[in-house]
């Protein structure tokens, strides 16, 4: 195990300050807002405030060895509420995780497997790249593979790992394909060449893996001609608009909720039937607290007649995280083993408390997390988890 000298922690905080558009972590005034706000703070050996305090005070080795390092699920609450504007989620946590791995501390086993999957196969699920188009099986609209038939398109759709491979999300991918086609949008995908955008591994602190994926994706994207990239995954959206430019890779990119909300006038005439249900919407952290896009998903839901939209007590900037970001999809066992809870379990209880019978989401991770959580807490059959795209497809009378 590599050991750091006593000043290494303060040097790290100062380096982060120089690289940071926000404030230096070294300027933390120890107010404790982050510690009190963190949904897993009560289970952490070092709360976010204490991470900064101990890192700067010469305890970097102890911080790097702590299970705390792998408990952040990137909800951005600490960053959002920090009165000093310190980018804890985007900068401090990944930097500490990077230092930990460089010092030979091993990340939790589930996370290692995911990182190796990304390295070997370019996807988080450890699936064959050749199966990336399996989601198109049974699809009743044409799919343009731009790597085989290169031509200008309005939308280059980065399908993402879960929508490409995970059966529950594959149906959402097919739904989006039908919606785009019904709207008359010209769109294409990167087929079996597509790889993960890499946001999750950057948040894991795997900067080398992220750089590798950026290089590989740039090589693909730079060959294509498109008006905008559209993603189903808000994490991929986040990475493309915030982190790729740091490598000189600038692309126009929109999350699907923004893309469709901007085309509401085009979408509305295609809505032909009501969807009678009471819906509460879960603000995912990347689109919400990180990007401030609270209105676009709600605007889409309000296009659908029959829907009654109700809000959870914790919504918009106060929304509770699903627990899946920042590698959280692969950290549940680690978090629970160290005294934390699965945030998705609490979140579905909050959704049910509104009286809604549908929990609407706009992130691929959330379908799996919330459907599991509904089963765990006994809400299966009472609370249905659906992507906004599925509700739109119902209203457009598109094949499920």
């Amino acid at each position: 195990m590599i050991s750091f000298d006593g000043d290494a922690g303060m040097r790290l905080l100062e380096e982060l300050g120089k690289a940071n558009a926000g404030q230096s972590p070294a300027g933390c005034m120890q107010c404790g807002m982050c510690a009190a706000s963190c949904p897993l703070g009560s289970a952490m050996e070092y709360t976010p405030r204490q991470l900064i305090l101990h890192t700067g005070a010469g305890d970097l080795d102890a911080v790097l060895a702590s299970p705390t390092l792998w408990m952040c699920v990137a909800c951005y609450t600490c960053s959002h509420r920090c009165p000093r504007g310190i980018e804890l989620t985007d900068l401090l946590w990944p930097a500490l995780r990077d230092r930990a791995m460089q010092a030979d501390h091993q990340p939790p086993a589930e996370l290692q497997e995911t990182l190796q999957n990304l390295f070997k196969y370019g996807n988080t699920l450890g699936k064959s790249p050749r199966q990336r188009l399996d989601w198109t099986k049974g699809l009743d609209v044409p799919v343009l593979d731009l790597t085989k038939d290169r031509r200008p398109v309005e939308v280059l759709w980065l399908v993402g790992c879960y929508p490409s491979y995970y059966p529950r999300n594959q149906s959402v991918a097919r739904t989006f394909a039908r919606i785009l086609t019904r709207m008359g949008v010209s769109w294409g995908v990167l087929g079996t060449k597509e790889k993960a955008v890499g946001e999750c591994d950057r948040m894991f602190g795997e900067e080398g893996l992220f750089e590798k994926l950026v290089e590989e994706n740039r090589a693909l994207l730079d060959q294509q001609e498109f008006d905008t990239i559209v993603t189903l995954d808000p994490h991929a959206y986040q990475a493309l608009c915030r982190y790729y430019p740091r490598f000189g890779a600038w692309y126009p990119v929109q999350h699907y909720t923004t893309f469709l909300a901007n085309r509401a006038a085009q979408l509305q005439p295609l809505i032909v039937q009501p969807v009678e249900t009471t819906v509460t919407y879960h603000d995912n952290c990347c689109l919400g607290r990180r990007a401030g896009q609270y209105d676009q998903p709600r605007a889409l839901l309000q296009l659908i007649p029959g829907i009654t939209l109700t809000e959870m007590a914790r919504s918009r900037e106060d929304a509770l995280c699903c627990g899946g970001g920042g590698g959280g999809m692969w950290l549940d066992a680690h978090i629970v083993a160290h005294g934390g809870q699965r945030l998705s379990d609490e979140r579905v209880r909050q959704a049910a408390a509104t009286g809604a019978n549908t929990l609407a989401v706009s992130c691929p991770y959330e379908l799996a997390r919330f459907e599991d959580a509904a089963k765990v807490v006994g809400l299966e059959g009472q609370l249905r988890v659906r992507d906004i795209l599925e509700l739109l497809a119902d209203a457009m009378n598109l094949q499920p």
């Binding site: 030979d104 196969y121 450890g126 080398g208 893996l209």
Partner: protein, 257 residues
């Protein structure tokens, strides 16, 4: 301790294997290759021993599949020397061929210990480690789940697994070849930044093996995917109905009397 570790490339079973038109071997043209799992454990065991008692690790591999990536990863983890055996064939060497050629490359290294995964899923004419031990004229112990230096000089202490998960602690005089089933801890994760750094700094020593090898002692007459001869029965109904059905099935099979 001077340790040699053999790393083999095997077809990645993430892709369903396909039989080639000759019907006697797998079609490797479309296959991707990964490091053999038990060889990964052999490397991890060598790294643990080096960390515990010092020494050098030399990694040897045939130039086949995605070997460069495997070797750069080994360098990033802490391998000191990397020897690549040139190999021009479309298929990987069989265990007999590999043993003869590896022995030729290993002998000048004068290792005290040779670690190699106990088996690989694409081996047909036997497993590599005992053939390698024979070619080197070293003793061999296989199915090892942990190796420690000492306690006597010139020996290692190994945990050998027997059928039924019976474990034995043995002392093995060196030099020796050990067939590793599992290291004392899972193979470590190494950050990609270190692998990328290794691609710029690691040096491969290349060698062209010339050992004469007997013909393959096994000939394949026909290779075909397993044919389904029956199907699973999915039990449905209430928990009580399913439990009753299971009881009946167990009784019918003579398991429950």
């Amino acid at each position: 301790m001077n340790i040699a570790v053999v790393l083999r490339q095997v077809p990645d079973l993430i892709e369903p294997p396909e039989v080639d038109p000759s019907g006697t071997k797998f079609d490797l043209g479309a296959a991707t290759f990964i490091l053999n799992e038990s060889d990964d454990h052999a490397l991890e065991q060598a790294l643990l021993m080096k960390e515990a008692g010092g020494g050098t690790i030399t990694v040897l591999a045939f130039d086949f599949g995605d070997v460069d990536n495997t070797l750069y990863t080994a360098a990033a983890k802490g391998a000191d020397r990397i020897v690549k055996l040139l190999w021009q064939e479309a298929d990987p060497p069989t265990p007999h061929v590999a043993a003869a050629m590896l022995a030729e490359a290993i002998r000048p290294l004068r290792p005290e210990l040779v670690l190699v995964g106990v088996n690989a899923h694409n081996e047909l004419d036997g497993v590599l480690p005992p053939f390698l031990a024979q070619a080197l004229a070293f003793p061999y112990v296989g199915v090892i789940r942990g190796v420690q230096n000492g306690p006597d000089p010139g020996a290692v202490s190994v945990r050998k697994e027997f059928p039924g998960a019976v474990m034995a602690q043995l002392q093995v005089q060196l030099p020796a070849v050990l067939g590793i089933l599992g290291a004392e801890q899972p193979p470590r994760y190494v950050p990609v930044s270190r692998i990328r750094a290794a691609t710029k700094t690691a040096q491969f020593e290349e060698t062209e093996p010339s050992a004469a090898v007997d013909e393959l002692p096994v000939a394949v007459r026909r290779l075909y995917p397993p044919a389904a001869s029956g199907h699973a029965e999915m039990l449905t109904g209430s928990a009580d109905e399913i439990a009753a059905r299971i009881m009946t099935l167990l009784a019918d099979k003579g398991i429950l009397k």
